[in-house]
């Protein structure tokens, strides 16, 4: 074995979790190799579309061309997809997977992964979330509680920099936040009316968002472009590329290898440890083995789980660490089918300047104080408002000078809101590997099968009804509730296929994200999740990653792994 292939630690994946693993490991002095299956994207330098005007982009930045839809039939359906962002999403034809039922898998195979294009909402989970499975007899219990993760939330928040408003509600714990972005006139109006009507139980706040409203460690603040998914030349939102990977590189301990697809983990039967990772070069398809004392899997939920399933040995014939048989099972995503639209005829003398890259938020209020009869768990709402733009002129029969004069003026205020609901853990929702079909790199294709259940459907109905009720209370007009079908995967919070737990018979990872039976392998992306609380999950992945690194390095120093 070549000495250059030996490291202290290997991290598979360079996105949200992988960037954090790299930063924490290198800062603790470990020579760390980060394997990224996609191409390199250098911070700022490679954000090729970041400052382009609409007319500089193909077809004035229309969402997709015929060629785009052919090459990226799934990716091109995403709200974020346009001519300025499409290069941050995979070619679906080159990266195929099998869907037992429709499952939209939105992927960014590049350095930084989806941390380049994420929606940036960062909320903590609370004990309402960590205790729910045990109290209600759903799935298995989380092996941790809020007190275990609270210092790591703080650790992460201090470094990433986030802005927003603390709700003062126990179900959404207080965070370290910069001042929020300002509400517009309609949002202020709604906030006041909701406070009067719901007495603090339901409230409108500015989302906690990993977007800087103030300078932080030489980054930002946000310049109001709201073009985050192109990459930010001002480093104003958190991404691996802009924040954690540079910190890791600054230690001198980081080796970053793009275009390096992890094929399988190398298991030593005698030592009962993983000794390294088999890697296929994306371009040449040659295989190289890299070795380390500890391995962190941060390749995103389905890919980290696939890597474990593809790591078979006589000890682990069904995939590394899969003594429980749960590996690949319990796949979750959020659901966001229930919501409402509305308009507001007043406040026509108020406007805004700049493009705010966050939303307003209504924290969860169902199943908090009292138990609902129709469903378990709850949902929070993202709320978006603006004044009408020229696009309101598209879908009508009008034309001419008066028409042009009218639609070039700010139009009526309008609002869009959708709930983000918890999805219960269900053994039947799962992914597995094809027994005979492989991708271009000789790695078995991933199959996915996921359906929302009765609890999610009952919840979605209430999500719509509550949205309508709140907008009525706020005095909005033309309120239209909706409860639409959601394709699993489309919220892009896939999680749960290598869950944590106390019992190795029912879980894959322990309370420190450590594979029960292989103590030098840690899995800290969304696959570790035991339940899928209503809040956006990335902050929790980052906090669990930092916590797991701290634990792993302690064990390494004591010679325990």
């Amino acid at each position: 074995m070549a000495t250059s292939n030996k490291f202290d630690a290997i991290v598979v994946g360079s996105g949200m979790s992988g960037g954090w693993a790299a930063k924490e490991l290198t800062e603790k002095g470990l020579k760390t190799l980060v394997l990224e299956r996609g191409r390199n994207i250098r911070h700022i330098t490679d954000y090729t579309t970041a400052l382009q005007d609409p007319w500089q982009l193909p077809h004035n930045n229309r969402t997709s061309t015929i060629a785009d839809r052919a090459a990226q039939p799934i990716q091109s359906t995403l709200y974020l997809y346009d001519q300025s962002t499409k290069h941050h999403f995979v070619n679906d034809l080159q990266q195929p997977y099998e869907q037992a039922q429709p499952f939209s898998w939105y992927r960014g195979y590049q350095v930084g992964g989806r941390s380049l294009m994420w929606a940036r909402h960062v909320f903590r989970y609370s004990d309402l979330d960590f205790e729910a499975n045990a109290k209600e007899g759903v799935g298995i219990d989380w092996p941790i509680r809020y007190a275990d993760i609270q210092p790591w939330y703080e650790h992460v928040e201090r470094f990433i920099g986030a802005s927003g408003e603390n709700s003062g509600l126990a179900q959404l714990p207080a965070q370290i936040l910069q001042p929020p972005f300002e509400m517009n006139a309609l949002e202020k109006h709604i906030r006041g009316r909701m406070a009067a009507k719901f007495g603090g139980e339901r409230k409108l706040i500015c989302s906690a968002t990993a977007v800087l409203s103030r300078e932080h460690n030489g980054r930002g603040p946000c310049q109001g472009r709201n073009q985050c998914a192109r990459g930010c030349p001002f480093s104003a939102y958190f991404s691996s590329n802009g924040v954690t990977l540079p910190a890791a590189a600054a230690t001198g301990n980081l080796t970053l290898k793009p275009d390096s697809i992890a094929h399988s983990l190398i298991y030593d039967e005698g030592r009962k440890r993983v000794t390294g990772v088999r890697v296929v070069d994306a371009a040449t398809r040659t295989t190289t083995e890299y070795f380390a004392n500890v391995v962190f899997l941060c390749g995103s939920t389905l890919n980290s789980t696939a890597l474990m399933l593809n790591s078979k040995s006589s000890r682990f014939p069904n995939g590394l660490g899969n003594d429980s048989g749960e590996l690949g099972h319990n796949l979750m995503d959020h659901h966001n089918g229930g919501g409402a639209t509305a308009s507001y005829p007043g406040l026509s003398d108020r406007y805004y300047r700049g493009r705010r890259s966050t939303s307003m938020y209504i924290p969860r209020f169902r199943n908090v104080g009292k138990r609902e009869e129709k469903f378990m768990r709850g949902y929070g709402y993202e709320v978006y408002t603006n004044r009408g733009s020229w696009t309101r002129g598209i879908d009508n029969a009008d034309f001419g000078a008066d028409f042009k004069n009218e639609i070039t003026r700010p139009g009526e205020w309008s609002l869009y809101t959708e709930g983000y609901g918890e999805t219960l853990s269900n053994h039947e929702n799962r992914m597995w590997l094809s027994p005979d079909k492989t991708d271009s790199w000789g790695i078995p294709k991933i199959h996915v099968s996921m359906k929302y259940g009765d609890n999610e459907k009952a919840m979605a109905k209430q999500m719509m009804d509550d949205a309508v009720e709140m907008l009525q209370a706020a005095g909005l007009e033309n309120i239209q509730g909706f409860n639409r079908e959601v394709t699993p995967g489309s919220v892009i919070h896939e999680m749960g296929t290598a869950r944590m737990g106390r019992d190795p018979k029912t879980s894959v990872l322990n309370a420190h994200n450590q594979v029960h039976a292989v103590p030098n392998v840690f899995v800290t992306d969304g696959s570790c999740m035991v339940s899928s609380p209503t809040q956006n999950p990335s902050l929790t992945y980052m906090a669990l990653t930092a916590r797991a690194v701290n634990y792993a390095v302690g064990q390494l120093k004591r010679g325990e792994i």
Binding site: L51, D53, P54, W55, P58, H59, N60, N61, R62, S64, T65, I66, A67, F181, E182, M183, N184, A185, E187, K188, P221, C222, Q223, G224, R225, S348, D349, R350, Y351, Y352, R353, G354, R355, R356, R387, G388, S389, W390, T391, G393, I394, D395, N396, A397, D398, F399, G400, A401, F403, K404, N405, I407, T408, R409, P410, G411
Partner: protein, 159 residues
């Protein structure tokens, strides 16, 4: 180096002076299209759609972006209006109003008028002329101010 700059300038002048050629539509179709986009978005206190080359935008964007059905609808719709550019302006308005009324109940891919409106507005308002002169546009706003009084002459933001 100076020579290089001078030569480059001459090339650019020559390029700008050359008449622009459509790629997908015929010259008569382009004449109709030019009349249509200017009827939808005429010169007001900002230039007309054709001054921003909106008809050339449509010539590139429809074959690249529109579905096969929408392309077919648009092409045949345009073919049915071959003498449109030669009509007097009042008659053009009457004909386009009739077309709009007939097309509004149709699905997008079957509606010439809906496709025309979509691409005309996108082509004009996201062009440099449309975004910066008919509307207000800031590439880098420099931050966010959430609640400001609306100035009397304030145009809507382009994006």
């Amino acid at each position: 180096m100076l020579m290089g700059h001078a030569a480059f300038g001459q090339v650019m002048t020559a390029f700008a002076a050359a008449p622009r050629k459509a790629t997908w539509f015929t010259d008569p179709e382009m004449a109709t299209l030019k009349a249509l986009v200017d009827l939808i978005l005429p010169a007001t206190d900002s230039p007309a759609a054709s001054a921003a080359d909106t008809h050339y935008f449509i010539d590139l964007a429809i074959p690249a972006c529109a579905s096969a059905d929408a392309q077919k609808t648009f092409r045949s719709g345009l073919a049915a209006m071959m003498r449109f550019a030669g009509l007097d302006p009042a008659e053009q308005v009457v004909q386009l109003k009739a077309r709009a009324a007939a097309d509004m109940p149709l699905a997008y891919d079957q509606s010439f008028f809906k496709i025309l409106k979509d691409y005309t507005l996108c082509g004009y308002f996201l062009s440099e002329i449309g975004a910066t002169r008919a509307l207000a546009y800031e590439r880098v706003p420099g931050g966010f101010q959430g609640d400001l009084p609306l100035a009397a002459n304030q145009k809507a933001w382009a994006i």
